[in-house]
Amino acid sequence: MGKTLSEKIWVDHVVRSAAGEPDLLYIDLHLIHEVTSPQAFDGLRLAGRKVRRPDLTIATEDHNTPTLNIDKPIADPVSKLQIDTLRNNAKEFGIRIHSLGDIDQGIVHVVGPQLGITQPGMTIVCGDSHTSTHGAFGALAFGIGTSQVEHVLATQTLPQSKPKTMAINVEGTLKPGVTSKDIILAIIAQIGTGGGQGYVLEYRGSAIRALSMEGRMTICNMSIEAGARAGLIAPDEKTFEYLKSKPHAPQGADWDAAVEYWKTLQSDADATFDHEITLKAEDISPFITWGTNPGQGAPLDGKVPNPADIADAEDRGAAERALVYMGLEAGTPFKNIKIDTVFLGSCTNGRIEDLRAAADVLKGKKIAPATRMLVVPGSARVRLAAEAEGLDKVFLDFGAEWRQAGCSMCLGMNPDQLAVGERSASTSNRNFEGRQGKGGRTHLVSPLVAAATAIRGTLSSPADL
């Protein structure tokens, strides 16, 4: 019987397999940032252990970093201590680090692909749940906790139980104005925040193959929001083309050997998945979330749902609580919802293509009164690329703020936060209570919807302009 893509990658990385134990998996790349690593390095020091493979490890500063005045000392002393701790640990253990102000600094999941160290067939981990992003290259990539960060630092391996496999087929052609963000929000609304638990998701079908690498990263990024630790897409010519010019792409004969291997990274025709679902691309329209988990989403053309119409008692209770938190009334058309802040950025939608798509909509327009818009590139290089194309001017002329790279308002660890009761349309990945600031209310949207919303001041798509 054939194997699925994730099973092939798994088999290629088993270091040790024993009855009654999880497999010991080799880890090809370990990405590190300031928030989930300090306690892991402390553990190494306490046990007198070293980092086994500094040459398969890379660190960047992203979660906690300011997006203004990055040439000045970090104002918050606790944030500064955490950043300093990462710098000291990198120095002590010989790990490459891209610090604030470095040209390769940025969100860890934007930096890996742009350096070309994210490649097909790899196992990639990071102490961050959005590590699933790297699955867009046909890598098995998943988030881990700090204990596992320490484990990988010390051994370059992780004991892991083999996950089940789920195929998510998206067939057909997307309608204009519909993006990969809408696809993944629609998938999560369909299978729920727990639907992917225990699975690796493989996104397949003509609509997935038609997506750019950036679009594929957006989809894989939010696999965790469906409960799956990893999501991946088989590599193809687009993947190879994207990688070819990147600094860490294999060179010469290594490139040829790599591509030959990468071409085998497809689920076999006779492989069976433990579960399979299919969506029609034509059925998907611009999608938003109305509640406080990413599964509480609906097409933008709709209305705030009435919890009374929800059959499942737990879902009903969750919807009731969500509407209270979000300050929404059942039956309100989504397009009547007034937005205070638009956030364009994050590891989900902070890449150059996302900025281009939004700038296209905004060009020559002015921001709605009493609305603010933050544009935060995913990395320093994305920011530079955007400036080279003049996108910064488009955003600034429109009335948006043009910031330095980082996670920023996606999780509000730095000063970029919502105030109590403030409502955002955000291209990020989580609409949890207080995620973007205590008492803040988040609607997840695509970059196109974010841009149209900033123009009109209410949730909107470019078709409404």
Binding site: R52, H63, L81, D128, I144, G194, H248, G295, G434, R435
Partner: protein, 198 residues
């Protein structure tokens, strides 16, 4: 890691589903570089409400958290596990846990036990009727006991053994480090390295 064999304590009934890690410990609390002191941030947004179940005096001192489905969704922050442990919880019961949270809890020695939703409901009802109810979570016998109820649960033998012995995972892997050496010797040359930087 402390050994976990069996624990008896009282219950905090948390009647909510999809309790994500941003609720368990908001991001603003994640700036600490230690594993302790996170109890202040535990459910901090909900705790400002005096009626929130954690603020009710009859549940003071509870060591077993019983929550709705999909507990621990969201971020990979192990700080969520530490916050629960720092506050005094030894066990979390739910009908479904998010994968990363569960993995983290098993590494850090917080026992997470899956029992069917109807048993979760029964436990909520029993505790709300009698907040002093003593509940035993027995990893050795693989069951949860209260009153005359005995609820069996499943956990894989490997994880159970590690928790009961309080074993260090890294130490276990290092015993087999020769296998890692052998694997590395066969890795293809086209696999990328981060050093030297290009």
């Amino acid at each position: 890691m402390d050994k976990f064999i069996s624990h008896t304590g009282t219950v905090l009934p948390l009647r909510r589903t999809n309790v994500d890690t941003d609720q368990i410990i908001p991001a603003v609390y994640l700036k600490r570089v230690t594993k302790s002191g996170f109890e202040d941030g535990l459910f901090s947004a909900w705790r400002v409400d005096p009626d929130f179940v954690m603020n009710q005096p009859q549940h003071k001192g509870a060591t077993i958290l019983v929550a709705g489905a999909d507990f621990g969704t969201g971020s990979s922050r192990e700080h969520a596990v530490w916050a629960l442990q720092n506050y005094g919880f030894k066990v979390v019961l739910s009908s479904r846990f998010a994968d990363i949270f569960r993995g983290n809890s098993q590494k850090a020695g917080l026992l997470t036990v899956i029992i069917p939703q109807e048993k979760i409901e029964a436990l909520w009802d029993a505790v709300e009727a009698n907040p002093a109810l003593e509940v035993t979570v027995d990893l050795d016998a693989k069951n949860v006991r209260f009153g005359s109820e005995v609820i069996a649960f499943e956990i894989d033998d490997y994880t159970r053994w590690r928790l009961m012995e309080g074993l260090d995972d890294i130490g276990l892997t290092l015993k087999n480090i020769a296998d890692v050496d052998a694997f590395e010797a066969k890795r293809p040359s086209f696999k990328p390295q981060t050093l030297p930087a290009r």
